[in-house]
């Protein structure tokens, strides 16, 4: 199983690379817009050798993890608050619902006003992109909790907080995990937008810069790196979750199995 888990995706990616190479050879694609795999590999190894790739990756990794952590740290209590308190919901719901629809790229001027052009602005973009899936996923999970189990908690004399921790959270976990995974994905996806302004490092910056310098091979290398790290971080997230909440792993397996 474990071997297949690695073998199958590897085969899949290898096949894609082969098709990509063939398409280039056969002249179906434009070599400028989609350079051959070999050119991308060259760019990658050059970037790796010079240490530039590592630098950009570390900067972006830190931004993504921080932004994602911020999103989660905001979303979880807010979801709980809004699921339990009617006045909070009445006030916050319209505002969040509004914000949820607005393109983060359109908000950049306001973000500059409020957060400046430093790290805070970049985190702001990532948070805007990744907040809602985990927030809405968790709220959905909370509203889907079996009220019969909550009654068990009430009878056991559990305080609200305990009911939350010991019944609602475990019950809502499968949906929360879906939300977390979508959010983490969107954190990575927000990188280019986040590093559009006033960056001098980061994979998003590297891609934008390469695009400005007409280096599509570097653009593609950046895409590959982000995709791969994203895959890896998703995997780590899933492993972490199945460590902390072992009874879920069956569920997660079912989702993949």
């Amino acid at each position: 199983m474990s071997v297949r888990r690695i073998l199958v995706p590897t085969t899949v990616f290898a096949s894609v690379a082969a098709i990509w190479w063939l398409a280039g050879r056969a002249g179906w694609t434009n070599a400028y817009l989609l350079p051959a795999p070999s050119a991308v590999v060259d760019a990658l190894s050059e970037l790796t050798a010079s240490g530039i790739l590592l630098k950009h990756t570390l900067v972006s990794l830190q931004r993504v993890l921080l932004g994602f952590a911020l999103s989660v740290a905001l979303a979880l209590p807010l979801a709980v608050l809004m699921s339990t308190s009617r006045p909070c919901r009445a006030v916050l719901d319209p505002l969040l619902e509004f914000l949820r629809q607005v393109p983060p790229l359109a908000l950049i001027p306001l973000l500059i006003l409020w957060l400046g052009i430093g790290e805070a602005q970049k985190l702001g973009i990532i948070v805007l992109a990744s907040f809602f899936p985990v927030f809405l996923g968790f709220r959905g999970g909370i509203s889907g909790v079996d009220p019969k189990l909550i009654e068990v908690g009430r009878i056991a004399g559990l305080a609200r907080r305990e009911i939350l921790w010991r019944i609602v959270l475990p019950s809502a976990l499968p949906e929360l995990v879906v939300g977390l995974r979508i959010s983490l994905g969107y954190s990575w996806r927000a990188l280019v937008g986040a590093e559009l302004i006033a960056s001098s490092a980061g994979l998003g910056y590297m891609i934008i810069d390469a695009e400005n310098l007409a280096r599509t091979d570097i653009v593609l290398a950046g895409i590959l790196v982000i995709g791969a790290i994203g895959l890896l971080s998703d995997l780590l997230l899933r492993i972490a979750i199945s460590r902390v909440f072992p009874w879920l792993s069956a569920d997660l397996e079912a989702a993949r199995a």
């Binding site: 019969k148 009654e151 305990e162």
Partner: protein, 236 residues
């Protein structure tokens, strides 16, 4: 006290003008046909449902334990953790473990302590729910058809266990059952319900433990059954 529900646009009185006193330390059983309002009454007593009119008065410091009609186990906890569930955070680890062990012993599931709810048979799940309520050692114990999924042997054993515990601790117990014999065996008093109303109260003045073969028990059983079943008696 009453409780109404809206079902498919019509108002339904699940419990309708019931006034009842359950003395502290007494054991009362409730019988009645399916859908007559037994569970609703128990939920009102437990404070899980608000009465549409009237009120439930009890010492607010009294702890309530409930065995629900369904097992209601936390699917992510194993048997022992489910039994420990109400105790965690209020007793220290050692005491929790001791109480869990004792309760699992009483319901005959000591061997199964590490199984997950999905791995249990219907009767086993029900016994875990009973163990959970017993381990809590509540001042008021409410049981909703707790033995319905059990075979005669296991059921008889647990009935005895319940009587033993009640005799030893003298907490208030209210037990809903559809088995009239069980009602007579376990109740100081049997309450008969029909479509939301209390239609009879029978004091059973027999010493515990009682035997199903005791002619007095058989007599009570026959009388209550006759009333329950009504004019068109299809039963012995």
């Amino acid at each position: 006290m009453s409780r109404h529900y809206q079902v498919a646009g019509r108002t339904l009185s699940a419990v309708d003008g019931v006034t009842e006193h359950f003395p502290a330390g007494s054991i009362t059983t409730i019988v009645g046909r399916s859908g007559c309002g037994k569970t609703t009454l128990l939920r009102l007593l437990a404070g899980l449902t608000e009465p549409s009119s009237g009120e439930v008065r009890r010492d607010p410091s009294d702890q309530v334990g409930v065995v629900f009609q369904e097992a209601r186990l936390m699917p992510w906890l194993d048997v022992a953790d489910n039994v420990a569930f109400p105790l965690i955070g209020r007793l220290d680890r050692g005491e929790v473990a001791a109480r869990v062990e004792e309760a699992l012993m009483l319901v005959g599931l000591a061997e199964t302590r590490r199984a997950l709810p999905v791995q249990l048979s219907g009767g086993m799940a029900q016994r875990v729910a009973i163990a959970r309520a017993l381990a809590q050692q509540p001042d008021i114990l409410l049981l909703d058809e707790p033995f319905s999924a059990l075979d005669a042997f296991t059921r008889r054993k647990l009935q005895r266990t319940l009587v033993d515990i009640w005799q030893a601790r003298r907490r208030t117990v209210v037990l809903v059952t559809h088995d009239v014999e069980e009602a007579v065996l376990l109740g100081e008093r049997v309450i008969e319900m029909e479509t939301g109303r209390v239609v009879g109260r029978v004091a059973i003045d027999l010493p515990f433990p009682r035997e199903a073969t005791d002619p007095a028990v058989v007599d009570h059983r026959r009388n209550i059954l006759a009333r329950l079943v009504g004019g068109t008696d299809p039963l012995p």
